[in-house]
Amino acid sequence: MDIEKRIQSLAARLKYIQDIFAEREDANIELLHSKLKDFTDNGGAMSAQEAARQVEALEDLYAFLEKKLERELTPMDKVRIVRHPQRICLKDILENVYDNYTEIGGEGEYNIDPSVLIARAYITRRVGGKVYNQPIMVIGQEKGHGEEFRNGGSVKPWGNAKAQHYMQVAETENIPIHTYVFTPGAYPLEDYPGAAQQIARNLYEMAGLKVPVIAVFSEGGSGGAEAIGLADVRLMLSHGYYSVISPEGAAAIEGRLRGGQRASAELIETCARRLKITADDNRTMGYVDRVIQEPPLGARPEHYDFFKVLRSEVIRATDEVVLNVRGWKFFRAMTLSAQRNKRNASAEDIYVRWTLSAGARDRLVWRRYQRFRRMSRHAYIDNSPLTKKVERLAREAGWSVYSFFKYDFFRKHKKKFTHMLEEIGSEFQVVRDKAAVPLRWARRALAPGRAAVCSEEAGKSLTELSCWDKGSCDTPGVYVSPQAREDRVLTCTNAETHGCKDLWAPDLFGDFAGVCPTCGHHFRMEYQWYLHNVFDYGSIFEFSRSVESGNPLDYDGLSAKLEKAKAETGLKSACVTFEARIKHVNVICATLVGTFRGGSVGAAEGEKFVRAAERARKKHYPFIAYVHGTAGIRIQEGVNGVIQMPRCTMAVRRYIEAGGLYIVVYDTNSYAGPVASFLGCSPYQFAIRSANIGFAGPGVIKETTGLDIPPNYHVAHQALSRGHIHGIWDRRDVRANLNQALQTMGGRNLYYR
């Protein structure tokens, strides 16, 4: 019966409201509850007409109150909305937004990773009596409606690998990609391929994808979201959240909780507010382009109107991207932009072909890079005066021009010329040797005494002081660690198993470079040691010093912490970028310093890293990222931090594709975001023996997956066997190994090649 159905639906709505507002059940919800109860109690006695009237009144009341509640939603309520099992999922979208689709790879549970859903979908447009079928690759996390096997949309590394594969397929087929982000975060496994490793690969892939990518964010949790979120247009559902970490995770860090403890609801609530995770916040900060308005209290599968809106938004976004890079666009682009502000205007009225020509693809990638390059400019402090900024820009422009002429223009011709000279020279050599035969014979016959003189010379060279020219002039500087000034004795951690002798601190940190001479255990060494012992003496020149870490979200307490860190380390951010030389080879190096807020990466660090990569590209220098330790993205900067993952990755990709050599060296603990993006994507990654490398620390893995991880899960040797890094170096050999790497690896376009 109709009325009963309507009552059932009202009851479901009430249940949903109660779920969302959980503990804070206020008067409004009470009211709804009692009204509905009254009605169901008296329902039998009423006439059908009366009942219908009352139900209608009830429905009006519900609609009114839902709108009212909608206005009072807190960020945490929105988090509960997106996590609710009744929230729309990717399958709903595929069925209602696209006209036809086929899921690729697996059915329900029988899938390599059921939390990733990939589909070839079609959008059909009827324009001017013609029917156009446009294929799209849809990639997204599938939460389902509470099914256990979907793992809540938490993607395992191989799920991301699959996503990466189908991005490549879409590129080959030259069709646009629509990604839907429904994930609380990636599943932090390190088994092959590691979560960080795979996310880095995904980001690297997407940074150079030559097809339009549209991302729609509903639930965007950190690295998991980034794995498919690097897009030309980023749309966001109005009730979604996009954040560096779940509010619970932030609360656990904020409250310094250890395993098993739970953060209080209030703390979680404040963290959610402070992190600025909602759609409107992200829109204001510029990390998403548009917000798609959802029905009150969030979209559920029965909101068919919403799917229409979503459809027209994704189509329009794809059209925009395509038209922006296409040659033929005049009127359609104008119409599209005019339409944007009109209500009820459908994007389907104009046909835009979504395949791109070769030129358009390059423009697409360039525009994508520019878009991300401009992001998060407000989030760091640059106190340098205007003249300095202008000077920097002028110098960069100068370098571009200079490097164009020096490397792209002259070198080509120079090469040809030298090749020709070499040919002529070797021909001449042969002729001369032939001609010299009788001459040599004559000389030997005439001057037998010469030999004795020669041997006397040789004898002298054997008994007299030779010139130690090699290696003596380019020795690195001498740096004495403050740890080497203490008179104390350290016991090596492997003393039990390897029988190491106790070590006197001045020996250990002075002569042994903090390495146990018996077993090779690496003690902690501060980053200054590397600056002085790896690079040539006095060759370090720091740049972008003026970029300073700020507090873009006005997060409580961060400013004070930053002040403290700045005072303690004398640095302005956790990233130090400089030019230096290694055995006379100029390099650009970006160092992440572990002592500055755990080496966490925020907007300032990202900006410095990007600038360093660009500088290296312009100067054709090798680019070394030395990680003295990083704890991940600086969570207090929220999305300002997380956006550095795609930003820096794109800068790195641009550098590598320009023929550079990008080497990453990990020391100590390197975890999470940076490893899962701009560090992890390097083809040449090395670790010093003391390194631990991974996506999430052991505590976090235990917390999120419930798995007990094996001991030494993150040590460098494990990372090597997983294929994440490509070699393990001894700290004492870093200089020699780096030099070797510079001479032998990658980089077809370096200045010294």
Partner: protein, 455 residues
């Protein structure tokens, strides 16, 4: 033991460490007699720096004598002793000198810089194959010029030591293969690819110069030369004779007196240049053609210092004690005499009595010594940790050294005769756990005495 004696002689307080296995040794007995039980500390190992320094702190010591071995040439330990918060005086050269002269390559370069002859070859690790090959080729032609019948060139891993990573080649054709093998071995084993190329010298005599310097940069003094050419197959010294050669009694194919002078002068020059400030030994090899080459510098007092002391006269008086001189100088005193005051008289022979089997590759013998005695004489002094009045179990942790006997004679003939007399009258007996008779090198020493200093 001799350090304790020197301390007693200088009137200094001392404490003495020993391990459990050494509890019955002579130095422990002597220390107990001279300093009482409070002057003895038992430690678990002679090699544990922490323990030694803890003993020094506990005893309130102000200076530390590292003995002959283990730590005496360890510049890190010397530095730690002098630079720790509670610094001690290091009885030995300053740690910088130990570091600089402890490195053979550095020593060789220092010597060449001063024009001191060294073994022909490279004086720095070679990393460049063509360069190394050129040096090797030069070495072959150099030796051929000097009429060496079978020229041999040594390739050594520069970071190696103790005989590891050394190979010889007999012609230049096998150079490349050997060079690469050594280089790869060195890289794998020591983490450094450097290779040294040197001439190999056969049938040489091993000479030493005893040097003494004070802490005030005074003119370095020498206490004559020693000849340590009588060695076991493992190149362990068995007999030392001072002076190095006796041109007065024996005929040499070269000008032996001039060689001795040159060796002393060169040693003093290096000591001056390096800023040497303690007792040390300059080791030389002398080829059959009479060319001296500096080999290395031992920056410590050596066991055989007594044989140089026995022929030295300061201001005409004997009874020189080099260990006492070392302690005095290390504590900042000046020697109080010059080279002119040091004269030499007669010939000294030092025997190392060791429980070993010379016929069987000098295999050590371990067991219990039942009888050990000798006839004392004014020309004889014996240093031993083995008691003469009770049986003694040789500790298996260390080399089975039994005694040092130093004999003096007014010339070589007399010294040799007295040496044989000492060996004849020596009583030495014992058995090991399986009943095998004690084996010692007495016969070996007797046999070698015949041809002492003949070259």
């Amino acid at each position: 033991m001799r350090i304790v004696q020197a301390c007693v002689k200088l009137g200094l307080d001392f404490v003495c460490v020993h391990t459990a296995a050494d509890a019955h040794s002579g130095h422990v007995r002597l220390a107990r007699e001279q300093g009482g039980p409070g002057s003895l500390y038992r430690i678990s190992s002679y090699q544990d720096a922490n323990e030694l320094l803890a003993v020094a702190d506990d005893a309130g010591a102000t200076a530390l004598h590292p003995g002959y071995g283990f730590f005496a040439e360890d510049f890190r330990f010397a530095r730690r002793v002098t630079e720790r918060t509670r610094a001690l005086t290091w009885i030995g050269p300053s740690w910088r000198v130990i570091r600089d002269l402890g490195d053979k390559i550095n020593t060789k370069r220092l010597a060449r810089g001063l024009g001191v002859p060294t073994v022909p070859g490279s004086d720095r690790p070679l990393y460049d194959e063509p360069e190394a090959e050129e040096i090797a080729a030069n070495l072959f032609s150099f030796q051929r010029e000097q009429d060496v019948a079978r020229p041999v060139v040594l390739l050594k891993a520069s970071a190696g030591g103790g005989g590891m990573g050394i190979e010889e080649i007999h012609d230049i054709d096998s150079f490349r293969m050997t060079y690469r093998r050594i280089r790869n071995y060195a890289k794998r084993q020591f983490g450094d690819e450097g290779v040294l190329v040197e001439q190999r010298i056969f049938d040489f005599n091993h000479l030493e110069v005893q040097i003494l310097c004070d802490r005030h940069g005074g003119e370095p003094l020498h206490f004559g030369t020693r000849n340590c050419s009588v060695q076991s197959t493992g190149r362990q010294k068995r007999i030392e004779v001072a002076p190095g050669f006796v041109p007065a009694e024996l005929r040499y194919s070269f000008d032996a007196a001039a060689v001795l002078e040159a060796v002393k002068d060169h040693s003093l020059a290096i000591a001056r240049e390096a800023g040497y400030d303690s007792v040390g030994t300059w080791e030389w090899i002398v080829t059959p053609r009479g060319e001296p080459f500096l080999m290395e510098v031992n920056t410590r007092i050596q066991v055989e210092n007594g044989v140089s002391a026995v022929i030295s006269r300061i201001g005409g008086k004997g009874g020189v004690d080099l260990i006492a001189e070392q302690i005095r100088c290390a504590l900042g005193e000046r020697p109080g005499y010059t080279q002119k005051d040091i004269t030499f008289e007669g010939v000294g022979i030092e025997y190392r009595l060791i429980a070993e089997d010379p016929d069987n590759k000098f295999t050590p013998w371990a067991g219990r010594i039942d009888s050990f005695s000798w006839e004392s004489a004014p020309w004889l002094s014996v240093h031993t940790q083995v008691p003469t009045d009770e049986p003694y179990q040789i500790p298996t942790d260390f080399d089975p050294n039994l005694a040092l006997a130093i004999i003096w004679g007014k010339d070589l003939a007399e010294a040799k005769a007295r040496g044989l007399e000492f060996l004849d009258k020596l009583v030495l007996g014992g058995t090991d756990s399986t009943g095998v008779e004690l084996k010692s090198n007495v016969e070996f020493l007797r046999h070698k005495t015949e041809n002492l200093l003949v070259f």
